[in-house]
């Protein structure tokens, strides 16, 4: 039976990093969950991005070996509204992605997730996305990397934005572009403590951020063939391993049924009190591993019956 891979995105430790946690500490926390993969945010985790010191790169590989972790996804951004008075051109967008592909490759990553600027309330990506990606498919192929835009709340699976990405894959036939699912799209109860970067004004103006868009987990079947990586977004898991927002008891069986065998990379986005994330990530791993084992045990039993 196929099984999940477990990882952690350092996004989980937002606000801890630089105030109470170093990158070394983060490696230790991730490794101690029993994870095999580490996900970073390029701009956040790599000093002097986009040109880290050589000594830092050496140390990066030494840490990977010491903590027995493999680099998974490298999150990056295409800052389309780069200046007050002008947007990025296709050429600039392509150059940004090429830069991130090369850096991600240099650090041993398998995926990059470029976050494109958007042009409207529906979060439609700036139209340069298509040309900027297209020009990088050969480079991505050469470097053995997959470019993954993120399907992120409030954008669900069945939506023109997702459709456009799928159409692009089908048109080009590429293996170097796919979809990343952020499990925040399955959120079905309101968030009590928001740990994302949005302001009070935005919260008031966009309640879907807080209430959740409750994408049916069955919709995963539409796109799973294009999904090699999942960010396991969550906000609050209590002492009984009950998640207050994300329905893991429906997500895990569906992913198992669909044969998903890629990473679940923890993205904690709850209360940003110091050190809380460390424990929350551990609870999520305990919870998902428990659900996976329960599914496996039930399948085994059914097969033996």
């Amino acid at each position: 039976m196929s099984s999940f891979k477990y990882g952690v995105s350092l996004y989980s430790y937002t606000d801890d990093f630089g105030t109470v946690m170093t990158l070394d500490d983060a490696f230790d926390h991730v490794a101690d969950t029993g994870s095999t993969g580490i996900e970073i945010l390029g701009e956040t985790s790599v000093p002097l991005y986009p040109e880290p010191p050589v000594a830092w790169i050496d140390d990066w590989f030494a840490k990977l070996e010491r903590f027995r972790l493999e680099p998974t996804n490298f999150a990056c951004w295409v800052d389309t509204r780069i200046q007050l008075d002008r947007n990025m051109s296709v050429e600039e967008g392509a150059a940004q992605i090429a830069q991130d592909l090369r850096l991600a490759h240099k650090l041993g990553f398998k995926f990059i997730r470029p976050k494109f600027g958007v042009i409207d309330h529906d979060l439609t990506p700036d139209p340069i996305w298509e040309g900027a990606v297209d020009r990088n498919l050969d480079l991505a192929h050469e470097l053995d990397l997959v470019i993954l835009p993120e399907i992120h709340s409030p954008t669900p699976i069945r939506h023109p934005v997702t459709d456009a990405y799928v159409k692009f894959i089908e048109r080009t036939g590429t293996k170097n572009f796919g979809l990343m699912i952020d499990t925040g799209i399955f959120q079905d109860r309101p968030i009590d403590h928001w740990g994302g970067g949005i302001t009070d004004e935005i919260k008031k103006g966009a309640l879907s951020f807080l209430n959740g868009i409750n994408t049916p987990v069955e919709h995963l079947a539409d796109v799973i063939q294009y999904v090699p990586f999942i960010q396991a977004k969550f906000h609050n898991i209590d002492e009984t391993l009950h998640d207050h927002q994300i329905p893991w008891e429906r997500i895990v069986p569906m992913l198992k049924k669909l044969g998903y065998a890629g990473y679940l990379s923890s993205e904690y986005e709850g209360k940003r009190d110091p050190w809380v994330a460390i424990e929350q990530v551990r609870r999520q791993h305990a919870l998902i591993r428990k659900l996976e084992e329960e599914y496996d045990a039930a399948s085994m039993e059914a097969a033996n019956a």
């Binding site: 990093f17 105030t19 945010l41 956040t44 780069i82 958007v118 103006g205």
Partner: protein, 134 residues
């Protein structure tokens, strides 16, 4: 390491010669989860004891270099890294009095991946901080 609050205790001080202060400055940590090109920061408003010092009149210092708001917009390739801080320099004849002040900051971030109506996103912080040398 930096204090968790955006506004730092250390770095809140008067500037200019003693007895003839020209203003004060406030140290603020990168309050975003990712590093920012300076061109994505549209300035920082400072409030002290209810008096607002709008971004337009303040300078933004990163390392040894000071930026006006126009200069921030030009600095597309310079980044404010996570774990780093910047300093807002506020002109004010005589500086601030010795003692504890209520200090506020409002950083105007432009996040290209937020819908246009939420630009800039204003990230606020407020705390008590102390001027030791008037």
């Amino acid at each position: 390491m930096l204090e968790r609050s955006h506004i730092q205790s250390t770095g809140f001080r008067n500037v200019g010669p003693e007895g003839a202060r020209t203003g004060f400055e406030v140290r603020i940590r990168q309050a975003n989860y990712r590093s920012s090109r300076l061109s994505l920061i549209e300035g920082v408003d400072i409030t002290v004891d209810g008096v607002v010092y709008p971004a337009e009149g303040n300078l933004f210092r990163l390392g040894d270099k000071e930026y006006t708001r126009d200069e921030l917009n030009e600095a597309t390739q310079t980044r404010l890294y996570v774990g780093d801080y910047f300093t807002v320099v506020v002109p004010k004849e005589g500086g601030l009095t010795r003692g504890v002040h209520l200090v506020g900051s409002a950083i105007r971030y432009r996040h290209p991946y937020f819908p246009p109506e939420f630009q800039p996103a204003i990230v606020r912080n407020e705390r008590h901080a102390t001027i030791i040398l008037p």
